[in-house]
């Protein structure tokens, strides 16, 4: 067994884990670590997304799992067996590459049949499997075409069919939708998610697109600087970011410095830069740190008049900018002694507000989160 304390493995119980990264580190030059001490379990049947900016270590992690990179230190277990030294062709993992990597000299059907030959499936049996895989992605009529004759979305589907045709229990995807336009991307997100749930496959998905991650994932691992910053389901991640990076990376957030004053009625009380006190959800783990950040999403800030009697935080400031964004207005307000606070106000409520004027704002303490770093 592992020497790590159990709680670092987050919520998945070890017998359910299909994949386990244990103290995995990766360095190319022996000095800088691209992946620093990675511990991660992927449960059977789950859709796990590794989300992060480029250079955060997420793709390297995926490549290590696929067998294209070898961990410098640590262990990767697949079904409980260490696989660091297993070449990719013996891992039986489906892999969808960023630019699909379809073989240009083969037809679509030959591409999809390719993995079957290495699994001893030939002839009619292979043909049936290919037809079913292509049918699954809606390309049954395209078997005789060459990849170059297909549109980007169709190529994407072929890559998907090819990675699924040999029924791997684990499929990895490296930014598979990056080359598609927005509408197609959104449609493919839903298709991939449907395939994953209907086939019961475990999927590990790498993207830098947060909305893609939120749409598709059961759990999201936010990568930054070679580490997982937070591992949680999309709702938790969105509503309860654990640190400033996650708060800033997922969605939009107002993050303002504050100092801890005390606790009151199950809420934390903090003092802002201008001396105003606000209340926030008591999410502090250690509570030892006095210098904190208060984070609140723009859509959780409303006009004070709209929230008459709640136990809300009230503050005011001067409007510095106003933008019309269709269903809402976006206000930039200078408050707490010069901090810029962004608020999203439904268009119907914006009356008598002008740039340069003063506005009274409110937010619920439950929506205000305190971050230690």
């Amino acid at each position: 067994m592992n020497a790590m304390p159990a709680d670092t493995f987050t919520t998945v119980r070890s017998e359910d884990a299909l994949v386990r990264f244990s103290q995995v580190k990766k360095s190319y030059d022996g000095i800088h670590y691209v992946v620093k001490d990675l511990n991660l379990d992927v449960a059977k049947g789950e859709f796990l997304t590794m989300l992060g900016p480029s250079g955060s270590g997420k793709t390297t992690t995926l490549m290590m799992l696929g067998g294209f990179e070898r961990p410098t230190l640590g262990q990767i277990l697949l079904n409980g067996n260490p696989v660091e030294r297993l070449p990719p062709e013996r891992r039986n993992i489906g892999f969808v590459f960023q630019n699909y990597a379809l073989f240009p000299h083969m037809t679509v059907a030959e591409n999809v049949a390719f993995p079957l030959r290495y699994r001893g499936i030939r002839g009619a049996a292979a043909g049936a499997k290919v037809a079913r895989a292509l049918g699954r992605v809606g390309l049954e009529a395209m078997g005789d075409r060459r990849p170059a004759q297909l549109s980007g979305g169709q190529q994407q589907r072929v890559a998907l069919a090819r990675a699924l045709v040999f029924e791997p229990s684990l499929v990895l995807m490296d930014e598979p939708l990056g080359a598609l336009d927005k509408q197609l991307r959104e449609r493919m997100q839903i298709e991939i998610k449907h395939l994953q749930t209907s086939l019961g496959i475990t999927m590990v998905y790498v993207t830098h697109d947060q909305s893609e991650a939120l749409t598709m994932s059961d759990r999201i691992a936010v990568f930054h600087d070679g580490r997982i910053q937070q591992l949680a389901d999309p709702k938790t991640l969105y509503n309860a970011p654990e640190n400033r990076f996650v708060a800033g990376f997922i969605g939009e957030n107002n993050t303002m410095p504050c100092t801890f004053v005390g606790r009151e009625a199950g809420l934390a009380v903090v003092r802002m830069a201008d001396g105003a006190t606000l209340r926030a959800a008591d999410t502090l783990l250690s509570g030892g740190k006095a210098e904190l950040s208060l984070s609140v999403r723009p859509e959780n800030i409303g006009l004070a008049s709209g929230q008459p009697n709640g136990p809300g935080n009230l503050f005011s400031g001067q409007v510095t900018d106003m933008f019309f964004l269709g269903d809402h207005m976006r206000l930039s307000v200078a408050a707490f002694g010069g901090q810029t606070v962004t608020a999203r106000i439904p268009v119907g409520q914006v009356r008598g507000i002008a740039v340069g004027g003063t506005v009274h704002l409110a937010c619920s303490p439950a929506d205000c989160r305190l971050l230690e770093d």
């Binding site: 990719p88 062709e89 892999f95 990597a101 073989f103 240009p104 390719f114 993995p115 290495y118």
Partner: protein, 413 residues
């Protein structure tokens, strides 16, 4: 008038308008290339066309024996001609003797009737001394060649301004006395074997450059940048070095007192000097050395464009390293292999300098024989005809290259 017809007319009008609108731009673009096109037509195409004409040109008999040819018009073609033909021949040869053109006519007829040159010269000397006829007996007394109907049919045939003789000879064919085309006797067939040898040497060289060059191109793509740059220098520098310098180097290396023999003896691999220069081995080695960069560069250029994820994808789908290489990587390098090999094959067909300096008599290629017929035998017609054969073979393969690769795909480093 139906609706479809109006639509068609509309479409045609649009098409015409589009063409017309594009015309000035097309003309402007073309006019930039015209100076070079014109230059090449004068300085490159015209000489080649002139060569083609030389291969069928047949002026000698026509200009030197005009009276004879006129007299032969009434000849029956099977018997020895009558007195008027011999009188005309005597008159032609008398003039030819004065102009010193008799040897030209003799040389030309000698190609088709062995020994004819000396017979014509002797006859012209005799004709110069004759004041009056009858001439027939005098010619027949001098040589029975004048009695043979074949002699006269050859003379008559060569009255035409154009002759297929040189072209037929260049592919080991001849005109039979009856006028049909037949192969020459097997022991006299020399030019097709030479063409075959040229194709064979070009093929061997192409194969060797592929075997030697493919791994080099591959290593160029996987080596770290600085090492790859140095390796690229090593591939390009020979390309830049004068062909003559490279051939000289091989002469020095291969000669019997040369470096290779010295090394072989020093290593006690051989006790006697090995004949390397003036052999097929030497020719093929030197040509392979010279052609290697031409094969490597197109292959490298294609290999570099193959995404590394191609091999990764193959591996993730279950292919082992060997299988992934042969099923995924190698087929994708095929366009480069075709381009490099066709280029090397085309260029190898035209080798002249290297076989001339490094090869033995059995390694001389079509080009070398062309040079020999121009410079030594002064048989321009045959040289030109061999040139036509070589040109046609080359252009056929160039055509294949244009179809499969395209002229705009040729790169220089």
């Amino acid at each position: 008038m139906s609706v479809t017809e109006t639509v068609d007319i509309e479409r045609i009008r649009t098409f015409v308008a589009v063409r017309r609108a594009a015309r000035p731009a097309r003309r402007a673009a073309l006019s930039l290339a015209l100076p070079l096109v014109g230059f090449l037509i004068v300085a490159f195409i015209a000489p080649i066309l002139y060569l083609l004409v030389t291969a069928v040109d047949n002026p000698e008999t026509r200009s030197i024996l005009p009276r004879t040819l006129t007299a032969l018009e009434s000849w029956d073609g099977v018997s020895t001609p009558d007195e008027p033909v011999f009188a005309a021949l005597a008159a032609d040869l008398k003039l030819a003797k004065e102009d010193s053109t008799a040897s030209q006519a003799g040389k030309r007829l000698n190609y088709e009737i062995p020994g004819m040159r000396s017979k014509v010269l002797a006859a012209s000397r005799m004709a110069a001394g004759l004041e009056a006829g009858p001439y027939r007996e005098k010619f027949l007394d001098q040589s029975e060649i004048w009695a043979a109907p074949e002699t006269w049919s050859v003379i008559r045939r060569n009255g035409a301004g154009l002759t297929p003789y040189y072209l037929l000879t260049a592919v080991d064919l001849q005109q039979s006395p009856s006028g049909g085309i037949e192969g020459v006797a097997p022991d006299q067939a020399i030019f097709l074997p030479i063409l075959g040898r040229t194709l064979l040497v070009a093929g061997i060289v192409t194969g060797l450059t592929l075997i030697l060059g493919y791994p080099v191109a591959y290593v160029l793509t996987i080596a770290p940048r600085t090492i790859a740059a140095v390796m690229m220098l090593m591939v390009l520098l020979p390309l830049w070095t004068s062909l003559l310098v490279r051939t000289t180097a091989w002469v020095v290396l291969l000669q019997s007192d040369g470096v290779i023999n010295a090394v072989l003896m020093a290593l006690h691999l051989t006790t006697e000097k090995v004949q390397l220069i003036f052999t097929r081995f030497g020719t093929v080695t030197a040509m392979t050395h010279i052609q290697l960069p031409f094969t490597i560069l197109p292959i490298y250029s294609v290999m570099r464009s193959i995404q590394p994820t191609q091999l990764r994808a193959a591996r993730s789908l279950g292919a082992g390293p060997t299988s992934a290489f042969w099923r995924i990587y190698a087929p994708q390098t095929l366009p480069g292999v075709v381009a490099g090999c066709l280029m090397t094959f085309i260029l190898s067909l035209g080798y002249y300098i290297t076989p001339a300096l490094v090869g033995g008599p059995q390694d001389q290629m079509v080009s070398n024989f062309i040079s020999v017929y121009i410079n030594r035998d002064l048989n321009w017609g045959l040289a030109a005809a061999l040139g036509v054969v070589l040109l046609l073979v080359t252009l056929a393969i160039y055509g294949l290259f244009l179809r499969l690769v395209g002229a705009d795909k040729i790169k220089l480093g």
